[in-house]
């Protein structure tokens, strides 16, 4: 692959590994959680609690899935 394309592929792969890693559902849940938090905030509803709840719940879900596959 010529240099400009190989660099783009390398950067895309780095960003995917950095943000998504080996469980895409955790990154997706955080992304959705941030969008929902913004919506709650716009509607003057308390929103600070949502991401910590998502972190705790999604860690458990991801660990359970990992232990089933190993």
């Amino acid at each position: 692959m010529p240099p400009p394309f190989s660099w783009i592929v390398a950067v895309a792969k780095f960003l995917y590994d950095f943000i998504v890693g080996d469980d895409w559902t955790v990154a997706a849940a955080v992304g959705i959680g941030l969008i929902v938090s913004a919506i709650l905030n716009v509607n003057n509803l308390p929103a600070w609690w949502l991401i910590p709840v998502i972190v705790v719940v999604m860690l458990g879900v991801s660990l359970r899935r990992a232990s089933r596959t190993h």
Binding site: F14, D17, F18, I19, V20, G21, D22, D23, V26, A27, V30, G31, L34, S37, A38, N41, A47, W48, I51, P52, V55, V56, M58, L59, G60, S62, L63, A66, S67
Partner: protein, 241 residues
């Protein structure tokens, strides 16, 4: 003179809070992934910061910090959660093996040649975000109180002193087994990431900065519960499939 000292001390203390967050990330990432790429990332962050401060000067206080906090916070959170999860699994499997020295089963996460871009990126954005916040504090306090030199001395002094403490502690940090260190850094990155991402959305935390230790306690408790559950699972204390 009293005004100058008040500005210097206030700026020092406010900047020290930001500097602690910066140094925690750099020391944690360096101890876990290796120091070379981490320190190059931190130095690159300081370089970018110096250019931004020189170019923008006092106009820095008008730069919107919210979007930057949201982006950096979300990235730290998603990455921190990966280490949080791996740390729980490894500590549950190995316990505190290797404490006081290196566990022979654990190798540094980065073993390839050249730059470890993950370590570089984490250190870089930790330094840029926290450094910008220190710069905002210096500009705001300095301009507000009319003692710009005192504010600069307070801000730079906080970064230098907290950085020196981090440097002095790095040998102690190296004695922590890598699996436990990965869990600790994962918890810290997730804590700061959660805090900054929510702040970046313009949402106020109950108690302001005091929410950081609250989040830390919640995530540490979460780690302890999940480590216990993972250990029980590994010991076969689960219903047969």
């Amino acid at each position: 003179m009293t005004g100058l000292w008040a500005v210097l001390i206030t700026t020092f203390l406010a900047s020290a809070v930001e500097a602690i967050e910066m140094v925690t990330i750099v020391v944690g990432v360096g101890a876990t992934r290796g120091w070379r790429s981490t320190l190059i990332g931190a130095a690159s962050g300081f370089g970018v910061l110096a250019v931004v401060v020189v170019v923008l000067g006092a106009a820095l206080s008008r730069v919107p910090i919210g979007p930057l906090r949201l982006i950096v916070g979300a990235l730290l959170l998603t990455f921190g959660l990966q280490w949080f999860r791996k740390g729980i699994m490894r500590v549950a499997a190995r316990g505190l093996a290797g404490i006081g020295g290196q566990d022979p089963h654990e190798a540094a996460e980065w073993t390839g040649p050249g730059m470890d871009w993950t370590a570089w990126f984490l250190a870089f954005k930790g330094v840029v975000l926290e450094g910008l916040e220190v710069a905002f504090i210096v500009v705001t306090f300095g301009a507000g109180a009319g003692h710009f030199v005192g504010a600069v001395v307070g801000g730079v002094g906080a970064v230098v002193i907290v950085g020196g403490i981090g440097l002095a502690l790095h040998q102690t940090v190296r004695r922590i087994p890598r699996s436990l260190l990965q869990l600790i850094v994962g918890v810290l990155l997730s804590t700061f990431g959660t805090f900054w991402a929510i702040e970046g959305l313009g949402i106020n935390w109950p108690g302001g900065d005091a929410a950081i230790p609250g989040l830390l306690i919640l995530y540490v408790a979460t780690a302890l519960v999940y480590i216990s559950l993972e250990r029980n699972r590994a010991l076969g204390l689960r219903p047969a499939a």
